[in-house]
Symmetry: C3
Subunit: 348 residues, 3 copies
């Protein structure tokens, strides 16, 4: 699908400078763009690329003064970055709307209900009593277990598995390979040293506007629900254990893990590979640094912690810096000891 400079100019209210029929089919960075691609120039630092780029169409700021002639067609707007972002969003909406219908072969149980403009890809499995609301998309090879609800406009990418009874809200995006509603890790130790499985009969509730990355795992509750509240954003390979609650607009970076029954507040930010032990309460606005290990509840909102075990950010950094000075500290202790020994020798 290609667009001409004049079509794009209409979408972003731009003034055209050059050939209005110049056509583009994809986007690229200005330094890499080739013929048939669209780029933008917002940061003056990159202006040199404007004169060497192969891009056929370039969005630039209204006020930019050219130092040399430019090969491609310019689209002048008040704010080139904003116009580019707007264009991307519109482009993705157009592409996304084109994807509807039920591809064959797919498996949709007779008791399942699908709304209008829904996409169900080939080899997707939709179980009994599933509800897929309007404009939702279920990509190929996804598995939607019995009694699951998928809200409006939600996108379930390939090979996602959603176990029975889970609830997914509106405008949610779940990336490929992620597992929602697998059994929580609950076992009762037996006298002979073995472990008996504790049935996990709760579910997972994912509220509206949540995005979850690829190959993440969100376990179902033992009883009740594991809840990901609206607006939360979770990166790839994240572990969320049973009965956890992730607060509104909380952001969790890749490979972090949250243990069972912990409650994260609103607007918490968790760095990559951080871990949080079970049964804690983490206050709103807490910032947890990458690779931290949080072992105690955090009650003060907007705290910042780092380290494993995690402590207050500033004091932890000071301790870390001093631990690098340990060889020097040891030397100073030795010098003091030598002096004292000498002092004692003199007094004798």
């Amino acid at each position: 699908m290609t667009f001409t400079a004049s079509q794009i100019a209409l979408l972003i209210s731009a003034r055209i400078e050059g050939d209005p029929e110049a056509a583009v089919g994809s986007f690229n960075k200005i330094e890499y763009a080739k013929e048939g691609e669209l780029a933008f120039l917002a940061n003056p630092k990159y202006e040199d690329y404007l004169y060497s780029t192969g891009a056929s169409v370039i969005i630039v700021n209204e006020k930019l003064e050219l130092k040399q002639p430019v090969r491609g067609t310019l689209l002048r707007v008040p704010d080139a970055y904003l116009a580019f972002a707007t264009l991307l969003t519109k482009y993705q909406e157009i592409m996304s709307k084109q994807l509807t219908g039920i591809q064959q072969p797919s498996y949709i149980a007779s008791s399942a209900k699908t709304g209008e403009h829904v996409y169900v890809g080939a080899f997707a499995y939709v179980g009994e009593n599933v509800v897929i609301e309007n404009n939702a998309k279920v990509y190929p090879n996804a598995y939607i277990g019995n009694n699951v609800t998928i809200g409006e406009n939600t996108i379930i990418h390939p090979s996602v598995s959603i176990y029975h009874n889970c609830v997914v809200g509106k405008n949610v995006i779940i990336h490929a390979g992620t597992v929602i509603g697998g059994d929580g890790f609950g076992f009762a130790p037996q006298e002979d040293g073995s472990f008996a499985k504790v049935p996990q009969i709760g579910n997972v509730i994912i509220e509206d506007n949540v995005e979850i990355g690829s190959n993440a795992t969100i376990d179902r509750a033992t009883i009740g629900s594991t809840v990901i509240k609206s607006g939360a954003k979770l990166d790839n390979l994240i572990q969320v254990a049973h009965n956890v609650e992730v607060g509104n607009n909380t952001v969790i970076a890749a490979q972090a893990g949250v243990s069972g029954s912990t409650k994260l507040g609103r607007n918490v930010m968790i760095g990559g590979q951080a871990g949080i032990v079970g049964h804690l309460v983490i206050a709103d606005g807490t910032k947890i640094n990458a690779q931290s290990g949080v072992s105690k509840s955090i009650k003060q909102p907007n705290s910042a912690v780092t380290g494993s075990p995690a402590h207050d950010y500033t004091s932890a950094l000071r301790s870390q810096a001093l631990s690098r000075k340990l060889p020097e500290l040891e030397k100073r202790i030795k010098e003091l000891e030598a002096f004292i020994r000498q002092l004692i020798a003199e007094r004798v």
Copy 2:
């Protein structure tokens, strides 16, 4: 599927107090339960919820004395928690038995053998010479490579991939997205700086009663077998490298990793995000704390270690605490130095 209070009473030998025809279709915590749901009250701390819950049926202890009238039907038993757990297990058995048969379209190689009461979901792939024993379940989109055996009552969840020649025992549960038998990470460095692949021709053997979480990876051995011994429980997103041996009833929490050829003893417990380097031997009953990095073999059974690199739990905690006191220790050294300087000045 709904059950009446009297049907449930029969299953758990309860005495009915209230409407024996009250019907329930699911379970919930007493504080959240709504009409049509079953709850239980074991802990007296939650008794207030008994009078406000919407649950239609509530399992309570025989001896409980009511302070107010209760809306739902009560089922009185000697031990409410035990009765509830029994009920869950029976419920899951009933639900599980209903799932049998070969859904279409699925792919079952002509040389594969499937036992009685087996379930093979739509879009499941069953390769040449595969054996699926009685009552085993292979969910949709799972891949069972050539020559794999799946034991009795074993459950393979959606999108699990089991590479060729692996062996899975009885009563095993493997959750969605997990990969069994991918190639071990073996490469021989070449003179030009590149790496040549070392063929990985072994397999993975998973013994009976093992449970493995979602999106975990258990690599096949270079030669021989990677072995997960009976009763071991592995959580989500765990890495088990080639030729590792995981001992009986060993428990590994989410996102932990075990490097190549390491042998874990029986009843070892490994915390989340811990890592163990290759070619080690870890004694029976060892406890490895979350986020630890174990770099040496542990010979003493029932040891406890923490930290990265990991050391004896008690002494590591003391060092960690002292490292938090480093700013204070440095201040004390400074004071000593100042005093000594003054002493020297006085002597001159």
Copy 3:
């Protein structure tokens, strides 16, 4: 499929000692091998097993002098290990060549192009304009999004998901469950505390001879490309964020993560569970220890770092060792203080 000792002898130019018709169908370690299996003896430490092994055929060094009679047929070669490795590689080539054709049901868009001797497994999804070059293999339940190219001899294992527009080179192996081209983790904070998605419109380019383990995630670039350069080897459960560049022959062990826009040089080695923050440049030949957290660019080629935050390997080890001596250092400070106090008392 079985081979006789004489057939194998031809493949590796061996001299036969014993029954040339002895047949084997699989490989095993000499200590575990049973009848019908082939083993090798390279390390003299294992010579005892030669006399007890059940292997039907054993590859041994030309110079080996037998101390006892051996049951199986010996194949004598100058270097037993090398001959064994050669044999494995040839065996895998033979097995691999047998796998061709399009299994049904699979989904191949009408605009997709498939080369010669290609394998597309059942339930694999191949989108619009996809190109699958000669001898490439796409296993069951894999998802190949629109406009993706899969190079010659490349193997895509089961349940791999490759999003639209990504490019995979020749002789690449991607193991099961891995996700290529999922959206990068990019969100713009809004005034109300929520986050707006930043469209991720770039792609992933995987060059030739790359191997990627199971359940890894390689995110597409925001604009431009995330690039895995030729010869790089990535283990299981690895996270590579948007716009990262992984250099030639760089090796990354399991569960490590690289944050957005970081550039890794050539022949970098990254240990398991290590993390690297975003927007860094890591010099060629850098060695990053397991569980390290790299927070600054590394400019000096062939550096070695460890710890979180990571520092120069040697000095970090010294600090780690001293931090274990902290209780002793504190004791020495106390003794100095006691002495000084006594000194002061005496002077008064």
